[in-house]
Assembly symmetry: C2
Homo-oligomer: 596 residues x 2
Amino acid sequence: MPAYKAPLRDFDFVLNEVIQVQNVISTLPGYEEATQDVFASYLDAAAKFCENELAPINRAADEEGCSFNPADHSVTTPAGFKEAYQQYCELGFTGLDCDPAYGGQGMPKVLAFPMMEMQCSANVAWSMYPGLSHGAYAAIHAHGTDEQKATYLPKLVDGSWTGTMCLTEPHCGTDLGLLKTKAEPNGDGSYSITGTKIFISAGEHDMSDNIIHLVLARLPDSPKDVKGISLFIVPKFHADGSRNPVFCGALEHKMGIKANATAVINLDGAKGYLIGERDKGLACMFTMMNAARLGCGMQGLGLGEASFQGALSYARERLQMRALTGPKAPEKAADPIIVHPDVRRMLLTQKAYTEAGRAMTAWLALQLDIEEKSPDAEARSQAADLVALLTPVAKAFMTDNGYTAANMGMQVFGGHGFIREWGMEQLVRDCRISQIYEGTNGIQAIDLLGRKVLMDQGQKLRKFTKIVHKYCEANGGDSRLKDMAEAVSKLLKDVGDVTMHVGMQSMMNRDEAGAAATDYLRLIGHLTYGFFWLWISKTALDKLDAGTGEKAFYEAKLTTARFYFAKLFPEVHSLLVTLKAGAKPLMELDEAHFAF
Amino acid sequence: MPAYKAPLRDFDFVLNEVIQVQNVISTLPGYEEATQDVFASYLDAAAKFCENELAPINRAADEEGCSFNPADHSVTTPAGFKEAYQQYCELGFTGLDCDPAYGGQGMPKVLAFPMMEMQCSANVAWSMYPGLSHGAYAAIHAHGTDEQKATYLPKLVDGSWTGTMCLTEPHCGTDLGLLKTKAEPNGDGSYSITGTKIFISAGEHDMSDNIIHLVLARLPDSPKDVKGISLFIVPKFHADGSRNPVFCGALEHKMGIKANATAVINLDGAKGYLIGERDKGLACMFTMMNAARLGCGMQGLGLGEASFQGALSYARERLQMRALTGPKAPEKAADPIIVHPDVRRMLLTQKAYTEAGRAMTAWLALQLDIEEKSPDAEARSQAADLVALLTPVAKAFMTDNGYTAANMGMQVFGGHGFIREWGMEQLVRDCRISQIYEGTNGIQAIDLLGRKVLMDQGQKLRKFTKIVHKYCEANGGDSRLKDMAEAVSKLLKDVGDVTMHVGMQSMMNRDEAGAAATDYLRLIGHLTYGFFWLWISKTALDKLDAGTGEKAFYEAKLTTARFYFAKLFPEVHSLLVTLKAGAKPLMELDEAHFAF
């Protein structure tokens, strides 16, 4: 496994040259200090931290895993995790995009996302400890009382306390309406909470002084469905230092992210405090779901990047066979395998997916900032709609592509890819969960097509396609961009048609939307990546035309864009056919006749 | 993880109803005893063995793995492995398709392959111990002297000895021309062999009395390329019981198949015996490569089936959400997830790939039997060509689809799929290596397009496409088969065009073939599966028309065929586009500019 090297030049390209985030950030109140120079210094510091502290402990931590001591319900994280976290807190990164009123640095999300990508590349299991904390911070910041905020936020911001999200139970994950955890009023405004939660990431560990669990539970007289769920703050330790009976009962044995403590959490009359309105717990959770799902997408992105770096380095060094067109390194025993077209196909797939994903997340993170901070109500609403529409795409498309990329990186290594010491198979195992949690990718697809597109008759979709259409119109005249712009424009039209088609079909039979959803999400994914590759290409051409140097860098962007449109984007041809085949081929087989 | 249940009804369907293997087997001399009844009793016995002995020890063996004792170079296999192997030998399965002259049962390969599928489903890591032995048997049977055969074959056939294939070295896998292991003549007809081999499956273990290593090595005066490699028999123990210095130096730590001992084998002047002609070792190895690669494809098939069984059972039991079209199990807290279109999409994908793959391998195994036993030289040559053409397709297409299927099975389980105890993620890890070993799937693709198709101007391909064309012609008139036959006929034409196109292009630039190969293999894969789904459908319709009963079984075949043509086969639309995009998008990026 080669050393991880943060793609700082590409962050700079995406943030400052393609999307030019400063044009927007400088208009958002509260971000006056978030200048390009400040961004650069944060990114540099984070790069050093990820390269030097997180990446080197990633492999050993996978082998060591977390250990659970049933005697005192404690969990020990792998060697170096605690120390790295300590350093992370000292660098102020736990509070990067947090409210200065509680000690945060007040930086925009568009800076937080590239920093998250680096963590995911370097050590995704570690990244989840601060990641979950940030979710708890966001929930309390959005829905807590002033007293709750004053009690919990400063500690979550400085990192001395961490947080969790306790949603899933053994019999329900997707379908939270079924949840059984009970919250009974104690009479003093607090609640007594009893139940079992599973799959609680960072649920117990030795990295912080206290753990603040955010727990979904049901009040005795609440409806027995999703409308009867409330959200509670359940600290591991009370203010007086006494232990709350919220205990880790076991750690899961998993395929990957073994260094993250995935806990069974038993609440045995634990004292909790209602946050937000009663019975509105799910809504409270969902206010931070976009950021959480985008964060999950970053895992696919970061792991794809890590796998690309490993595979590229190996492909340049490993000598095997001669190029089909004759020796390229005649002085060596064989040519480096990067001369072989099929190896290049895998490397370029990794590269093309990763670089487009990086641009998409930067742009989406910027929309999150606009949604939160813009003084212009219309801009906020437009940004909110774009975020709502594209978050499921970012989550599912980036994690599916990340898994593909991680598998290709492993394939480039041949037999060595299967050997743990090389580190490539760990990336595959670590990536696999990102397609499942935070809502499976199948659920993301239904969310996109059902809730985000069909439910508002395509209004959100049109806000996005209008942007894409305008961009194609504005740049299709350049002969060097014509083919790309035409491909994207054609897909825009096809997306319009197929959306209409599926919408009509699903009015007659709602299974039609369910059957179309996964293909539809990939279609929108390619529309989005096609748009960003066009934008990246336009940016690169402008730089080349201006002769500002770095010719090879900008030309590589154009070459990668051409690869994307030649070899990956054409997936849309199959998707359009399978989409139109409808629900019948999925639904007509009787459940009893799947096997004999 | 539900108990594994061998798909005996489907084996019967494929062997006796679709391909009707008895019509052919009964014409092959030496197979007089291989009647349908005999097949059924072998399959029943193998099913019981796989269900009751192999499947139950699969999960624990993954956790336990193999252990290596450096003090005496010994390897201990997981609990139950040795006992299961003992029973397997007693059942006579080690000699199933082996020569009766050496104690074998003399059964055809078309019976051996379904038996192999069951082993792969139940316990793929275990299946490799007898699997590798069989390869050693085949090599010695094909190339050994009478004395060598008399010495080694009876023991390999009765299973008291096992075998290995020692090809790979640290610096060469695909490119065996680079191998460094030396063989120096001892003067008495034997050789002294020195070198290091890696990735030796079943390289050392405690299941047999002796291990017969087949080792590729180079004589001192031989050419320094693939034309200077010879094959040697290197027994662990000599006839007098003395230990030969061929030692296990370590076991690899792997992503999956952890219960198979993947050994580093150090040869330190080990005594070996030349087998076959000197400098023709690679050719000796390649005579058994078709069977080995088809065997590797069986791993994808068997693991896909195992994952399907697990996912189907879970999808019927797990309650989560209501069907989009309204409750299907109103008496329960939620509907079983098999009501959801996207869950069905995953189950049907597993099912459609597995059932077509089962038919393809039965048909190919029958060609292996014809190639070996037919008294008709033309039939032998035709069969040999079909095997040569379709073996890389079977290996790569079945393992890629098997990996897809295993991942889908895991996805059906949601978060539980990621937890080791459920057994679904093990299938993913165990399957992953099948895309890499026995020649990576990229190498299979080059073998197909370069060696098998372009090198003989498409002669082998035409032998296959003629069969498919005739079948479409003969059955396209049935209105119930018309759409399928037309889809396959259309693809036949497209394959012809694209083969010609790539052939012309690659005469000018050989990278064109390398760039097209992976897409081309998937195209031929769908041509093959399309043909088999048509054949399966025709068979099912005939049975339904005849009113012989089992209506649901035959109708499920038709439904699954329609799913395949509606949702999987359309991948060809994208493949035809990406194929025609050619090599330039892969080759134009300078090696130095992949990253900055």
